[in-house]
Amino acid sequence: EDQVTQSPEALRLQEGESSSLNCSYTVSGLRGLFWYRQDPGKGPEFLFTLYSAGEEKEKERLKATLTKKESFLHITAPKPEDSATYLCAVQDGRSYNTDKLIFGTGTRLQVFP
């Protein structure tokens, strides 16, 4: 059964303290792995798509990497405005035509000044 597990569930960082969020997945033929940011009471905001092991994407203080079993979202020198829940989702080969995604439960990040 396809599964996405994110860890830790919650993370508290001091401003400037770099860290990483983990997304482990088991799918039948990964077609894509997606990272989203979700603020309280809002819809998820698309951040990155990764397609193959070894691929990396960067955006401001965020960098996403992908291996055959997991993805990391590295946050360098975070600021309080980076506080949010970060969601990981995967698309497997069976859902190629529908774009159906399987979501993890997210990592709730809090960055304190």
Partner: protein, 112 residues
Amino acid sequence: EADIYQTPRYLVIGTGKKITLECSQTMGHDKMYWYQQDPGMELHLIHYSYGVNSTEKGDLSSESTVSRIRTEHFPLTLESARPSHTSQYLCASSRSTGYGQYFGPGTRLTVT
């Protein structure tokens, strides 16, 4: 910039009422989706559409129905609301296979 809209943003309604949650996108995306999300929980797909006149049920059983008469519009209807329907409903669309899905702001539904 993603342009996908949902109305209402918040809705409190009594048991047994019929409600329609609206979702519109201006990006011309063929694929649209409805998700249900409870606090601290993962998103669950309840309906999706490949295009006009195409609708499918998602992975999570839902008593709601959807329609897709126009590309840009994908409303979700509950014929008789129940307290178990209390949740956040998120609409999304995507351009093509393998591209990210873009989400609307969500509708927070409370059934009393």
